[in-house]
Symmetry: C2
Subunit: 382 residues, 2 copies
């Protein structure tokens, strides 16, 4: 008997793979897409559906599973940031645990916006150390952003997304027909994330938004150009995500607009949707970029012009320098000791800054207030 | 503008790598091992220490961090299955969130038994979607089993390990000196997992236990042969884990003893430690294997003989056929629709069964009661 080992090394590669599939009328009984993953015969599905979607489509969803002989437990979930809570997460886990599913071939199905798919993703990742889940985004924010990646989370202790995991879905189904009944404010909410990608990495997408954005918003992206813009946004998003799915690299282009917004969103008084907070962050960031001569005055004008043309209201009154500064300091912890703030260097390109000062934030908030005229403020009051 | 994409595929390999490092006197200020991972200058560490370990070694641990100028937040944690709770998990997350750490270079440190490292692993995996953690097992169960793998978990809704994740540690430090003060019952608890590996995959390890087990237990594995047995057990464990770290394959040799034990452990009346429940499961399983002519009568005798020689008490009174049957049914959900029960086929080899009947369990419980004589029962009452 000898014992000379002083060290073992454990090494492996965990394969991650999932498909994002475009489909139409996902809950049409003739559409086999949703049941293409997992056990059908004798199968069970735990399905979490956004309460608003349930009102419009609940009957159709129930009929779909009944038609295919699937025992489905449909649980409704109220959307909105205020429901991205520990309480909601635990309540879903309790319901899931009372409804037995196989560990591998009865995927949980999440049908809703970004908050819902984030929470359900974390539920799926925690239950039995991970059961598969399928995401069906029903909002534009979910469609172009939350559903296509692997981030799952809940808010905790007053902080956004403080708990969560990287949990790849088994599949994502994109069905544009859900956007038909989406309220206008939520269409604009998703558009803000498309604008983000355009400014930070895709000048051509910016052009398309300038040319077709207005009609796409009016058509809730059901039109031909809307399809093209969504496709380009998702392709761009995935370019950034796929090579850095688990955020080994903490300098991420897609974090543009996600530094100061962090604090804005958790400020209960502001009442902002995610995209609205991201937009305010982007505008402050663009003004910082302008002061640093990364972005020309003309480019800044184009950005403000696009936002006005698309009819997106800006409410700079919620911007407080201290709140934004604290938010940046928090992001420094999250980004492991450096600011790593992505800023546009001319439209469509990105640099990372580590030396933003509080004074700069203050002066850019003032400058934003100056730019946004009375007209916009009046718009807000309607 | 064209849009013809109907499907995107996201693919990557997530690399997993960690070292399990043997060391001595980990908290000796001259031992640099523990701070070899993460930021030292200006560094912070969130350290969770088992309450018993804190009594013996708390001063030494605090002095270690102070010596190196590390701001350490030491939180104590009471060991034991009854503390593997949601409440404990959330309380640790709250404490962690109040003590800021960088996301990547200030690893959480877990110093304790299997329950503690399991809970802290889940805390680390959930916080900010994952921050690094280091495991320092202080029990034999932790040393040969819980700490060397990637499973993290808490109990939930009355079910063992119902929530959790696969979270690789950044590093594991094995320091045998912690075992010097471990109570005898907890030494035997860990020995049960070593016996498991011996029966299901390593006949040579079984021989070693027969030859040296008694002296190793007396020496709390501080002796030469003890080192050899621990090394062999860990090597064997890692052989099984490394190739199947995320349990893609649900038929796992290391699940031997972990089918019926599942229900036994969560039965509050039984009051069993993990290894004690695993032992009872193994004995029932060996008797099933014997009835099916997988294991000879002589081999069964050797197994019972080893357990008696090592002074491990068997209490078959807690075995209830219904409880064991329900536990098996639960494992069927967990193992995705099949029993996949590992049984020994002669000492040191493994087969998987999918057709165990309730009747077999009943008859093997009776047989176990018959085998375990009055002598053992008397032993229990001391």
């Amino acid at each position: 008997m000898s014992h000379l080992i002083t060290r073992w090394r454990v090494r492996c590669q965990r394969p991650v793979a999932y498909d994002i599939v475009c489909t139409r009328d996902l809950f049409d009984p003739q559409n086999p897409a949703l049941l293409s993953a997992g056990r059908v015969e004798g199968g069970r599905r735990f399905v979490v559906v956004d309460s608003n979607v349930d009102q419009h489509r609940g009957e159709e969803i129930r009929a779909y599973f009944a038609h295919h002989g699937i025992t489905a437990r449909i649980v409704t979930f109220p959307g909105g940031e205020e429901n991205k809570t520990l309480r909601m997460y635990l309540s879903l886990l309790g319901e899931l645990d009372a409804f037995p599913i196989h560990r591998r071939d009865e995927p949980i199905i999440a049908v809703g916006g970004g908050v819902l798919t984030d929470v359900v993703g974390f539920v799926a990742s925690s239950y039995r150390r991970g059961v598969p889940h399928i995401k069906v985004p029903t909002t534009l924010m979910g469609y172009v952003d939350a559903s296509v990646g692997v981030k799952a989370s809940i808010n905790f202790n007053g902080s956004k997304n403080r708990l969560g995991s990287f949990e790849a879905p088994q599949r994502v189904f994109l069905d544009k027909t859900f956007l038909k009944t989406l309220p206008h404010r939520h269409i604009l909410n998703g558009v803000c994330e498309i604008i983000k990608l355009a400014i930070i990495k895709d000048a051509e997408l910016f052009d398309q938004l300038e040319q077709h954005g207005v009609e796409c918003i009016a058509a809730r992206f059901q039109n031909f150009e809307g399809g093209g813009i969504l496709e380009r946004a998702i392709t761009g998003m995935l370019e950034e995500l796929e090579s850095n799915l688990f955020e080994e690299n903490l300098a991420r282009k897609v974090d543009f607009g996600h530094t100061f917004s962090y604090g804005l969103e958790t400020s209960p008084d502001a009442g902002l949707l995610h995209g609205e907070a991201v937009l305010l962050d982007m505008l402050v960031s663009c003004l910082i970029a302008n002061q640093r001569r990364l972005l020309s005055e003309r480019e800044v004008e184009r950005i403000f012009g696009l936002i006005e043309r698309l009819g997106i209201a800006i409410n700079p009154r919620v911007l407080d320098a201290e709140l934004l500064w604290q938010s940046l300091l928090e992001r420094v912890e999250h980004r492991n000791g450096l600011q790593r703030v992505p800023l546009p260097e001319s439209l469509g390109n990105c640099v990372f800054l580590n030396d933003i000062r509080r004074q700069e934030i203050e002066s850019c908030i003032r400058s934003l207030n100056d730019r946004v005229g009375k007209e916009n403020e009046a718009k807000l009051e309607c």
